[in-house]
C-alpha cells in the first residue's frame, strides 16, 4: 500500500514538473491529465471513492477540455508570444513563495493521521451522500447558487451584447 502511494506521488510530481517545463502548451495539458490520474489513484488509497470518480469525470474529462479550449482561444504562434517583464516575474515569484510558505506552515501544524484517514468510510459514495444531503445541505444549495453565478457570468462575458 505504502509503495503504491510513493509510486503515485512520484508520478504525480514528475508529471507536474513536466507540465511546468514543457514548451508546448498542449503537451503541458496532456501531462496535467496524467497528474490528475495519479492524484485520483491517491484518492482511491485514501478510500475517497466519490472524489476519485469526480476527479476522473470532471477534472480529467471536462476541465481539461476547457483548458484545451482556452489554449486554442489564445494566439499560440511563436512570434506573437508575449515576453513577461521582470516585474511580472518577480511578482509571480513572490506570490508563489508566499503560497509555499503557507503550505509548509499548514503541513507543519497538521497532526500525523495517515492511519486514521485510511480506515474511514466517509469518502464512500453512500456515506458522503448521507452527510451531504443532511448535515451539509445548506452549503450544497449555496453551491448551486455559485453555479448559477458562473453560468450567468460566462454567458455575460462570452456573448455579444444583444441589446
Amino acid at each position: 500500500m505504502q509503495y503504491i502511494f510513493y509510486t503515485l506521488a512520484f508520478f504525480a510530481i514528475l508529471c507536474a514538473l513536466f507540465v511546468v517545463f514543457e514548451k508546448n502548451p498542449v503537451h503541458s495539458v496532456l501531462y496535467l491529465i496524467l497528474t490528475f490520474f495519479s492524484i485520483a489513484g491517491i484518492y482511491v488509497l485514501l478510500n475517497a471513492q466519490f472524489l476519485f470518480i469526480v476527479q476522473l469525470i470532471v477534472y480529467s474529462g471536462a476541465i481539461m477540455v476547457l483548458f484545451l479550449f482556452v489554449l486554442m482561444l489564445l494566439n499560440l504562434n511563436k512570434d506573437t508570444e508575449p515576453q513577461k517583464s521582470v516585474i511580472f516575474k518577480t511578482a509571480g515569484a513572490i506570490a508563489a513563495g508566499s503560497f509555499l510558505l503557507v503550505l509548509v506552515a499548514v503541513l507543519k501544524d497538521t497532526q500525523q493521521s495517515t492511519e486514521l484517514s485510511a480506515m474511514t468510510d466517509i469518502g464512500l459514495v453512500k456515506q458522503l451522500g448521507k452527510t451531504l444531503f443532511t448535515k451539509f445541505v445548506v452549503p450544497f444549495e449555496v453551491a448551486s447558487i455559485l453555479f448559477l453565478a458562473a453560468m450567468v457570468g460566462s454567458v455575460l462575458l462570452g456573448k455579444k451584447e444583444l441589446y
Binding site: V44, V65, F69, M72, L73, N75, F133, F147, V152, G158
Partner: protein, 121 residues
C-alpha cells in the same frame, strides 16, 4: 467495493488496456516500413497546399459550450450520491435535490434566453 484493495481488478484492467495500446503502437512504429521525404512528410489537405498553421484563435462559441458543459457535468455528478441514497433520503433528499436542480434550471433558462447555445447568432 469498500476498501482500496477492491480496486485491484480495475487497476489490472487499466494496465492491460494501456499495455495493449502502447505495445501495438510501439510495435507498429518499429515494424512498419518508413519512407521519408519532403513530399511524404507534408500535411495532406485534399491535394491543396497547406496555408499558415493550425494555431489560429477560434470562436468563443466552442468555449461557451465547453464551460456550460462543465457546469452541468458537475450538476450530474451530484446526482450520483443522491441516487445511491435515494430510498433512504425520502422527501427530504428529494427537496434538497429539487432546489439544487431548480437553480440550475433558472441558469439554463437564462442561457437559453440569451441564445448562448444557438450557433448561428
Amino acid at each position: 467495493m469498500n476498501t482500496p484493495s477492491s480496486y485491484l481488478p480495475i487497476i489490472i484492467q487499466l494496465l492491460v488496456a494501456l499495455g495493449f495500446v502502447i505495445t501495438t503502437l510501439v510495435a507498429s512504429h518499429l515494424i512498419g516500413p518508413k519512407r521519408k521525404g519532403n513530399k511524404k512528410d507534408e500535411a495532406f489537405e485534399c491535394g491543396i497546399d497547406g496555408v499558415g498553421n493550425a494555431r489560429v484563435p477560434f470562436s468563443i462559441k466552442y468555449f461557451m459550450t465547453a464551460i456550460l458543459f462543465v457546469l452541468f457535468d458537475v450538476e450530474v455528478v451530484f446526482f450520483y450520491p443522491y441516487a445511491v441514497n435515494f430510498k433512504e433520503m425520502g422527501w427530504h433528499g428529494f427537496a434538497a435535490v429539487s432546489i439544487f436542480v431548480g437553480f440550475f434550471l433558472i441558469g439554463f433558462a437564462y442561457v437559453y434566453k440569451r441564445g448562448a447555445l444557438e450557433w448561428d447568432k
